[in-house]
Symmetry: C2
Subunit: 122 residues, 2 copies
C-alpha cells in the first residue's frame, strides 16, 4: 500500500484574501472589511517604503538588520513590519537572532487583480 | 498651411500616479507619499464599498442618488466620495442637481501593476 497521492496544487486563488474585481459587483461588508485592512496597511508612507524594501531585497526577503535607510529607528521598523504581517501582507520566519520577512505573493496578486481588473473594464 | 498635427496618444502610463512594481527597487519617500495616499483612501471598509459601488454601477459612474445600500447617510456617502476624489481615485462631473463620480482607470491600473508586478516576481 502506498501513501503516494497526487495532491492538488495550491493555486494562488486558494489563499487569496478575497474579493472580485471592484467593478464586478458592489463589495459586501465582509469582503470590504478584509480588503480595507490590507489597503490600510499600505496607506502609510513609511510602511509602504519598508514593504517595498522587503519586496525588492535580494531573495524577496529581509530582516530588520537589512533595512536601515528609511530614516526611522529599528524598533519603528520592527513595529511596521509586524503591522504588515498582521494584515497578511508579509510572512515571517525566525532564523537565529533575526526574524526574516517575506512578501506574500498570492495576497499581492489578489489585491492587484482587484484593482487592475476594475481598471480594465472601466 | 495646415494646423493638422498627429498628436501623441495619451497612454495610461502618462497619467499614472507613480511608482515601479514594489519589488523592483525600494520606493523613494516621494513615491511612497503619493502611493500611500491612494492606498489609505481604500483603507476604510465603508469607503471601499462605496468605491466598488461606483465602479460596478451601470456605465462605470454613479451619483450619491444611486448609492443607498451601504448603510450610511447621504452626507456621509458624499464625504467619502470626496475623499476618494481628493486621492485621485475618482473623477467627478456635475450634471444638473447631481455630481456624478467615475473611477479613474489609469490610476487603478497603475496601483494594480504596483502590486501585481511585485507578486509576479516574488
Amino acid at each position: 500500500m502506498s501513501n503516494a497521492k497526487v495532491l492538488p496544487l495550491l493555486e494562488p486563488e486558494a489563499v487569496a484574501p478575497c474579493c472580485p474585481p471592484l467593478n464586478e459587483r458592489p463589495m459586501s461588508a465582509d469582503e470590504a472589511e478584509v480588503a480595507a485592512k490590507m489597503f490600510k496597511a499600505l496607506g502609510d508612507p513609511v510602511r509602504l517604503r519598508l514593504f517595498s524594501a522587503v519586496a525588492s531585497h535580494e531573495g524577496g526577503e529581509a530582516c530588520v538588520c537589512d533595512i536601515s535607510d528609511v530614516g526611522v529607528s529599528q524598533p519603528t521598523v520592527s513595529h511596521h513590519l509586524k503591522k504588515l504581517k498582521e494584515a497578511g501582507l508579509l510572512s515571517s520566519e525566525r532564523r537565529g537572532t533575526w526574524v526574516y520577512y517575506r512578501v506574500e505573493p498570492s495576497v499581492l496578486a489578489a489585491m492587484g487583480a482587484l484593482l487592475a481588473g476594475a481598471a480594465k473594464a472601466a
